[in-house]
């Protein structure tokens, strides 16, 4: 039996991964996922007490005049012209900033605590870890106890709806080595990362009011990532994000028209066409989508009909770790750096899962959309007027050319 109400570890995870929950001193949830045998068997244990004396995360704070100001729950507003909800991270502006841009403290908050290190605001209580997951200290969306999830009109106009941005933001650290790259992690460690994705998907999906669990990774300074530490994020939105909504409209319409599953049929068509398939193993296939929009873009799908990360079985989780490792390694070699050494590719890895409650999720299917802003070793694709203003992407290349480059970098069959 799992200690968690909704996450059921498979046979492998039961034997080889131990999850230890704790609470940080400001009240945030924190989880160790250990894959080292001494921790899994309980011979060694993790430090559970956060030695920092942080104020309760939702505590009122003092203003300049010394008055208590209640914690301001972040809000979101609905854009009437598009229907999109826009979370506004105002709460961040009302609290003292100790890490991040404009900080006084320095150091890497994702590192394990180093006794004697002058930086004493690390998020990890222990002096070492394997994989950890915890709630973001500066969330753009958060469920605040006691704040009712009510929708109100802005300025009395029913055109503008506003309600608390009652989602959840989590951070996943992939490895304690802050200078490592995800591409260089052993497959075994990535397997633990995959378990973290599944674990959090299961648990977050059970929280009232969360509609979509979005597991993603921003990698690279070019996209504004300030911490080099290998990590990913989870946004659990209290709505269905516009891109998934658009996809659900199409998968549902396709199902109504054909009775089929659009994502499964796309996958089969890609396998049949063959030209754009770049990797395969026993459980997964990776291909450059036939209408790719980024200079480097790969879509990864499980061969079996699976809707969410926590539905993957043990074998599929292992095969995913293997394929993801290969994808990152080949991605780093994709652009010609002249010296044959490759580069640290900036990328975004976006896990599209079926929504938590929306019944259209029945005809959706788990898929990873992996892409890069890079268009050459020394060039960035900018999202200019067409992309940013009209959401109309213009590709500078073709899917077949992207696939051709991947074919030069390694065999399609990984088994």
């Amino acid at each position: 039996m799992s200690q968690f109400a909704h996450y059921q570890p498979g046979e492998y995870a039961q034997e080889h991964i131990r999850i230890t929950p704790t609470t940080l001193s400001d009240g945030r949830e924190f989880f160790y996922l250990d894959d080292e045998p001494d921790y899994v068997c309980g011979k060694k244990t993790r430090q559970l007490v956060d030695p920092r004396d942080l104020p309760y995360r939702f505590a009122p704070h003092l203003d300049a005049d010394g008055n208590d100001v209640p914690y301001a729950a972040p809000q979101m507003r609905r854009d009437p012209l598009t229907g999109d909800w826009i979370p506004m991270a105002t709460a961040r502006m009302n609290r003292p900033i100790t890490i991040g841009p404009g900080a006084t403290a320095t150091g890497n908050p994702l590192a394990a605590r180093k006794p004697g290190d002058p930086y004493q605001d690390g998020e990890v209580p222990d002096t070492d870890y394997d994989v950890v997951v915890f709630e973001n200290r500066f969330p753009s969306m958060v469920q605040v106890p006691g704040v009712p999830n009510e929708t109100v009109d802005v300025d009395g106009s029913p055109l503008w709806l506003q309600r608390p941005a009652s989602g959840r933001c989590e951070v996943i650290c992939f490895d304690p080595n802050e200078h490592g790259l995800p591409a260089d992690l052993p497959v075994e460690r990535l397997r633990t990362v995959v378990e973290a994705w599944a674990f959090r998907t299961a648990e977050l999906s059970a929280i009232d009011g969360l509609e979509q669990v979005y597991v993603f990774e921003n990698h690279g300074q070019e996209i504004g990532v300030s911490l080099a530490h290998p990590h990913g994020q989870i946004y659990a939105y209290p709505f269905i994000a516009p891109k998934l909504e658009q996809e659900l409209k199409h998968t549902e319409a396709y199902h109504e028209r054909t009775g089929g599953n659009l994502l499964a049929d796309i996958m089969r068509a890609e396998i049949d066409a063959g030209e754009r398939v770049i990797m395969r193993n026993g459980s997964w296939v990776a291909y450059v989508p036939a209408a790719a929009r980024w200079p480097l873009e790969v879509q990864v799908q499980p061969l079996r009909d699976v809707r969410t990360l926590d539905e993957l079985n043990d074998q599929e989780r292992w095969d995913l770790a293997q394929m993801y490792s290969q994808l990152l390694k080949r991605g780093n070699m994709f652009f010609d750096t002249g010296d044959g050494k490759g580069m640290d590719l900036p990328y975004i890895a976006a896990w599209h899962q079926a929504p938590v409650h929306d019944p259209r999720g029945e005809h959706y299917r788990l898929n990873l959309q992996f892409f890069s802003f890079r268009r050459a070793a020394n060039k960035i694709k900018y999202l200019a007027g067409s992309e940013s203003g009209m959401a109309a992407w213009v590709s500078d290349t073709t899917p077949e050319l992207i696939a051709q480059r991947f074919h030069e970098l390694g065999a399609v069959d990984l088994d």
Copy 2:
């Protein structure tokens, strides 16, 4: 009577702006829009002959073996998961590049021709100009004579539709001074720019197969603009761009539900609320939308029900030039640079017009969406995993704070 079939200049333009069409040596259309009296009255005339000896733009080219390769019309594919058409600028890869990234030639192709200047590949035949508009030399979309506008299946699968990206891309140079900023142009020159927008909207809307005329401006190196020369662009898409499509769905549903025009009602609600209105004159109002998503975002609407730029009357065109000038000036002062001098704000100005043929345009309304990636004088807002991967914007501020800053920078009433 206008010399153009679809563009009807108003009284002011008839008397004060002269449009002179010509053809560049590779076959592209080119237009001078002159506002200097000597050119308007015909005392002086413009150089019409492009002195360059460029090959015909759609000519076959020779490959490495000396064989003729037919001009490859750019194609676009439909993404089955979103319904979006993705133009693929493959034609650009098949032709010799003489300007732009990877070029051998140097210089500013948007400058007026300077006799004796070593750069001999300027796009403007004359040695001076006021405003010019011409077809982009390296278009991502173009109508190629003799290429049928047929839709085909990619790899035999009906999931993937492909057809020629038979749109049109034009460049508008706002001023001959390549070091000037749009914010520093006299209102009279911006008035001529507005006339260029109206002129091209009228003419492009009449071309078979174009569905949306998108007038926009990318400004600033931070968004990848390599030419500092003050200029804008027009993309005439052979489809309705995803963002406009999303807006049309909402304006149409609103009309069906209420009988009203959503954009007009938003405008009236903003005027009633008042707090976010930042500028007004006799014809226009500018406000920070109640659900703004960018760190600096302004929406500008005409007070009168107008669907497209060419429907604006003389007074509205003048008032627009005045307001646009103020918007750019205040935009440059928006972020605190410490020295009180302001900065050259990077921005995207996106004109949303009613689509050319779609009947839903009846309940749409012209509006400018103006925004910046800047979130502080020295910081950029990056489009990371949530925005790029899920189209879910997270704002770092609030619309009211944006409006408050604009209020510090100048009076709301411009008249």
